[in-house]
Assembly symmetry: C2
DNA sequence: TTCGGGCTTTGATGCAGATCAAGTGCGGCT
DNA sequence: AGCCGCACTTGATCTGCATCAAAGCCCGAA
């Protein structure tokens, strides 16, 4: 564990797994080496809170490995997940002093951090970083708006199908495992976390997963591990069959 | 009408109403005059569609006056509004070829447009524009996430109260009319548009507005014109009484 | 091996908001 | 004035999901 940690402290940006997707994607060798000088790693255990709403944020960071969530809470405890952070996703906002959301590690998480001030300075001098960050933010905005459609207008069944489809798509594009026929998906979330993401209760999540299983849309290999025999069928169930398959 | 149009064609960026809030906010005189050379105005009547999903987008633009909406639709016709565009808000995405949403003029709208290619070129050479666009996009992302909480977890009554509070706040910051006691708000939307924004039906919107009136939270001066005797009370009804008043 | 605690499933019941169906009020047009 | 059309209101009923409650399952600790 400490061993791992030490190893990772010496990790070279050049062969980082998220080198070509993270905020540094567009940097050239020179820019990368300057980033390398201000970066440091932090790791978090599954379940740990990375940032609390309102906390002073003295750093920004990229998720290197693992999965984290962004959540908002009403005073009476109602929770809504507003983002799912996968490897290469960016946390924190340059130019903002305090955190706007709770950030929680769902699995063990490794983050590549930059102290905020030096990062902001570097961003001002390095258009490649600002450009990439803009692009990533626009993508997140699109994702948030797609989620608004889901939250506002989809049925419980469509919500579950959409979630499975989105997770399948994301880790297909991440891992490139593209079995033509049936396709295995690990749900990195508990039923309760899915409920918080979808604006449902955990009971409804469970019931709808059972229903999709009963109807042959998915199969359960374990509680958290699903296989999808026919992805197009899943997309139909999700309501928005915009595109008929996984992106390349 | 044509008269107005002509007048506006000669409008000088220097005394534009959105000069200090739009994507050009940070530009200096020199940059502004270069922008001025590539800009042109287009106006749209209330109800007109500005852009259809999937349309080829050959321009980006700022809303100068009026209100427009961003909506997404499922094939069976369920609609969800995913953004409300007020003066100074930006439409279109540099680096994307086709529109991701329908954009519709709710009132008469005047837009300050830039052909996409020249704008992109200029953005690459003008960090002030890219910086401002990043900042605006991050703000929109925060707004979208706040909306996700509303859509996923709030009751119909809380949704209505939140909508009124947000509109009140926005046009207070725009118009600077800050009557201390009771506060007048014009709803620029029909009941159906509110429903599409809040993920409700128009009947539920109507009923909840009546209920808030019955309970003395709001008063109706006309169908579309509301007054709020006690803003803090409204914020309580909205559920998230994060901050107790209008921002300065 | 048994026990305890998470996580999950399933059942019974209740209710907020959707759906279906009349109205009402108002501004514009003839 | 009288009529039309549209946005809105209100009522009656239905239903999808929440809520309340009780088991089942799996795994790690004693």
């Amino acid at each position: 564990m400490l061993q791992d940690h030490q190893t990772l402290l010496h990790h070279d940006c050049g062969d980082c797994a998220i080198r070509h997707r993270a905020v540094c994607a567009r940097c050239d060798a020179d820019e990368l080496s300057r980033l390398e000088q201000i970066k440091y790693y932090r790791s978090f255990q599954a379940g740990q809170t990375i940032v609390w709403v309102g906390d002073r944020m003295d750093f920004v960071a990229s998720v290197v490995t693992g999965i984290a969530t962004l959540t908002q809470t009403l005073e009476d405890g109602r929770r809504q997940m507003v983002g799912l952070l996968l490897p290469s996703d960016f946390v924190g906002r340059p130019g903002r002093a305090t955190a706007a959301y709770d950030v929680t590690a769902t699995t063990d998480v490794l983050m590549c951090c930059f102290r905020k001030r030096p990062f902001e300075d570097m961003m001002a001098r390095t258009p490649h970083i600002a450009q990439r960050l803009l692009e990533m933010t626009l993508d997140e905005l699109d994702a948030a708006r797609e989620w608004m459609l889901l939250l506002g207008r989809k049925t419980a069944r469509e919500k579950i199908a959409s979630l499975i489809a989105i997770i399948a798509r994301r880790d297909a594009s991440l891992n490139l495992r593209r079995a033509a026929g049936t396709l295995a998906v690990d749900l990195p979330l508990t039923r309760e976390e899915m409920a918080d993401y979808l604006g449902l209760t955990l009971e409804t999540v469970s019931r709808q997963i059972s229903a999709l299983k009963r109807d042959g849309v998915i199969r359960l290999d374990g509680k958290r591990s699903i296989s999808v025999p026919d992805f197009d069928r899943l997309l139909e169930e999700a309501g928005d069959d915009a595109d008929g398959g996984l992106p390349v």
